[in-house]
Every structure is written in structure tokens, then in C-alpha cells.
Symmetry: C2
């Protein structure tokens, strides 16, 4: 059988490749092109509109770093909202804590359906009784709901493309209204090596919206540049202070040392403006 090669360009002339053993699925949903490949190197790989979203081998880097810094910094996270995250990975990490409820708002029902079938390691938490799945546009949901949350996780795709709105000022201003006092937002923010100017501009409005608006970093080997940026947003909680809770067991990447190390930004990302 001919092997298929998956390629993702990170610049117009460079990127990563995987040789797939087979294509498991390829379809056009109402929102995007979705493909799943079986690979030797990375297990199953999910692509949306041609971009690698998740691989079975390295998804833990991303999901642990999106979820645990906020969950560990909050003294008592009870009600959680996830915007996006239809692959289930962020939800799995959230349910490692004794929470009361988790609402996941994913725009594309097919992502959920396909991941439940093809990524069982990611979607095991969808059946948990504390979980509510809402198929809706996250940006619309947050403007209509009167529910309030302790931790909100924005598990969107990249700032360039269909998720662009989830990276803009208006979205974060509306999201802030969904937080309880003392609440925390953590959001996927993009690739420092490729979206640096975007990250600089975003930091300016985030710092106006939140008392603590900090970027933090972690590796994701299959994402562009291998280094990923997240935003931690809160009016009350400084994530660089001592953490209050025991770290969940069986994590592969995150621990409290990693937590504090992640907020140390390289020179090329330093904020030169004083607050």
C-alpha cells in the first residue's frame, strides 16, 4: 500500500512531515476540513483545514499546559467552561480535579463525534456526569449565557484563520463577564516564533482588561516552532505565587516547578513597556 505523506508548512518553504500508514477519515464538515491519519511516529493525528491539531503522542504537552496552570492557581475551581476543545483533551485534564461542573462549547459537532470514535484516549471524559456538551459558537455562547465560571479555558485554533475572533479584545471583554470574582482564564495564544507581533499587540489589550495578564510557554513538538504560548488572565490571582493544591497524579509534563518555569519569558518575548 502506498503511504500517504502529511505535510504542514510553518513557513512558505519549511515545516514538518509524517508518513501515514493510512488515512482513517477525510471529510468536509459544516465548518472545516477534517482529516485523521494513522502514523507510526505519532499515533493518530487530527488535522483541521490542513493544520495538525492533535497527535496521540504529544497532545499531553498542550492539554496539560492549557489546563493545569489555571486549575492549580485557583484556590477552589468548581465550575469550568471550555471554549472549543472538541477533541476532549482539555476536558480530560479538567476532570482530574474535584470540580462540580464542566461545560464544553464546541462549534463543530462532527469534531466531537469523530474524536469520540477515533481518539478514545482523549475523549474518555465526555461521558462524565459533571460534563455538559454544548454545540454552539463559543463567541455567541458567552454573550448569551448568564452562568458564571471559576476557570475558563479557551482551546481555540490559531489566531490567523477561522478562530481569529477568539483572539480579539471584544471576545476577552465578554469572556471576563462570565468569570466569578477571583476567576481565571487560560487561553491558547499561538506560536511565539511565528505570531510574535500578534502576541505583542494582544498583550496590550489583555493588560488593560486584567490585573494579571501573563503569557506562559511550553513545548508542543508538532506545533510550529515546537514552542507554544498561552495567556493567563485574572484580576485577583498571580500565578507566580505559591500554588495551593496538590498536583494531580499521572501527569506527563506539568508539575509545580514546570508551572513556575513556564512564566519565565525569553528575551525576545519580554514586555518592554512598564505597566
Amino acid at each position: 500500500m502506498k503511504t500517504t505523506e502529511i505535510r504542514e508548512f510553518h513557513t512558505p518553504t519549511s515545516g514538518i512531515f509524517f508518513r501515514a500508514k493510512r488515512r482513517v477519515l477525510s471529510e468536509k464538515t459544516a465548518f472545516q476540513k477534517m482529516e485523521v491519519y494513522e502514523t507510526t511516529s505519532h499515533g493518530r493525528v487530527l488535522l483541521l483545514d490542513g493544520l495538525v491539531q492533535t497527535t496521540e503522542k504529544d497532545e499531553f504537552f498542550y492539554h496539560e499546559m492549557l489546563v493545569h496552570p489555571a486549575m492549580m492557581a485557583h484556590p477552589r475551581p468548581r465550575d469550568i467552561l471550555i471554549i472549543g476543545g472538541g477533541d476532549g483533551g482539555a476536558l480530560r485534564e479538567v476532570l482530574r480535579y474535584r470540580i462540580r461542573s464542566a461545560v464544553l462549547v464546541e462549534i463543530d459537532a462532527r469534531v466531537i463525534e469523530v474524536c469520540r470514535r477515533l481518539f478514545p484516549g482523549l475523549t474518555s471524559s465526555f461521558g462524565d456526569e459533571r460534563v455538559e456538551i454544548v454545540v454552539d459558537d463559543g463567541n455567541r455562547f458567552i454573550r448569551q449565557t448568564d452562568r458564571r465560571f471559576d476557570v475558563i479555558l479557551v482551546d481555540s485554533s490559531d489566531p490567523v484563520g477561522p478562530s481569529a475572533v477568539l483572539h480579539q479584545r471584544d471576545f476577552y471583554a465578554a469572556l471576563k463577564k462570565c468569570l466569578r470574582p477571583g476567576g481565571i482564564i487560560a487561553a491558547q495564544a499561538g506560536a511565539p516564533l511565528f505570531h510574535l507581533e500578534h502576541l505583542r499587540k494582544k498583550r496590550i489589550f489583555l493588560k488593560k482588561l486584567f490585573s494579571f495578564a501573563l503569557y506562559y510557554l511550553g513545548p508542543v513538538p508538532t506545533y510550529p516552532g515546537g514552542l507554544w504560548c498561552y495567556a493567563f488572565l485574572s484580576d485577583r490571582v498571580d500565578p507566580r505565587k505559591r500554588l495551593r493544591k496538590k498536583v494531580p497524579k499521572k501527569l506527563k509534563y506539568y508539575n509545580s516547578d514546570v508551572h513556575h518555569g513556564a512564566f519565565a519569558l525569553p528575551e525576545f518575548m519580554r514586555d518592554r513597556r512598564r505597566r
Copy 2:
């Protein structure tokens, strides 16, 4: 003109690619195959035996993290030894400090010659009067010299391949004899995602040889997995303590926050054995 594609396999079925504008050089030296390509995405790229060693765009990640943790942790680094490092990048970083001498021992004179010609941003320090270039096998040099150094940097290639000897116990035992009291060794140690078992074994003998034997991490986008591991070795200096000196200006990655964050190891790299 047809573009050439450079590929580096990180597993038998996956890796990275660059489309090169042109091949600038390709030759067999006495020790290895050396190639230089001109790319749009990463500037000039140096390959040895088919593996990416240096790209103009992202070499600063590697060279800053190999050099500055040791140089900043040492209270007064005067005499420096670099094993390997024929591309000049580590030397450039060393010369940001007020040192007395730097000896660079590179086995392959052609690497030095070619980099001086094709990578001027890396090799600007070769002409400095404090620098002595020795073309020799680093493993032989350290066993024959009676010189002693404050900081020794091992800028070798990977633990699998021609540099394998530079990753073994005997080499580090011999290297230790070249340190002055209070001296520090920093060594490139490999890819946590691909050489984890090797790193585990190496840590066992390094901890027997040195009071402080610590791994630390930093991103290198074009190296396998995008995340790189270095070893910090000393009998007297704990790099997690307060640093003594002002950080050199104009660095792109390293700063004192990054220094401390780099020693926070992820769960999958944690040392479970107590010392």
C-alpha cells in the same frame, strides 16, 4: 532553477523539511559529510552527516543556552574550554564576558574554515586575541593537556553517532580533571523526546561524578522534538541558587528568569531516585 529540499528524519517516518534556494556547499571532509544550504525560512543551514547542526535563524536558542547558564553561575570565569563548536556560535557567546582566554578544540578543521566563510554571524569571534583554536580530537586533547579551566563547554553532536564517546562516563571523568576548583561543565545532552533512556542512564554516572549534575532544557526549533537538553556539572556550584553577575546585553533568549525556569524538568524527565 529547481529548489532542493532538505529533510531530516526524527523518526523513521517523520521529521522536518526546508526548501533550499540553493546548495552552497557539499563536501566530504576527513570526518563527515558537510553541507550548507541557503533557505528563505532559516537563512543558511549547516548539516553534518545529514543532520541539521545550525541555522542562522535559530542558532541563538542553542548557543545561548549551552553557554550562559554555566558562565552566569560561575562567580568569575576566566579561562574557558570549548570541545567541538567549530561553527563558532558558543565562542561568540563566551566572549560576551570579560574572560582571559578561550580554547576551542574542534576535530574537523574544514568545519571551522567553511563556517568562517559562510556563517560570519557565528564566527566573528575567531579573530579575537583571547581565542586559541586547536584542531584536535577533544577526547584526546583533554587527556593530554595540563591546562585547567573555569568553565568547559561540550558542544558536540548527538549521543548516537560519531560524537558518542563525548557522552560517556570516561570522557566526563577525564574532563573533570581539567576543571579548576569551583569549575563548571555545561554539555549538550540530546533530545529528551528521542534520547530519554540514554539521558536516564547518563544521569546515573554524572551524579556519581559531580555533586551537582543537573539537566536543563531549552527550545531549539530545528532540533528533533524542538526541545533540547543540556547537562550542568559542578562539584561546588548549584545553578539554581542566585546568580551573581549582570546578564550580557543583546541576548535573544537567555535571561535570569529563563535560567531558573530551564532547570524545572517535566514529569517525564524527573529523577525518581533520591541522591
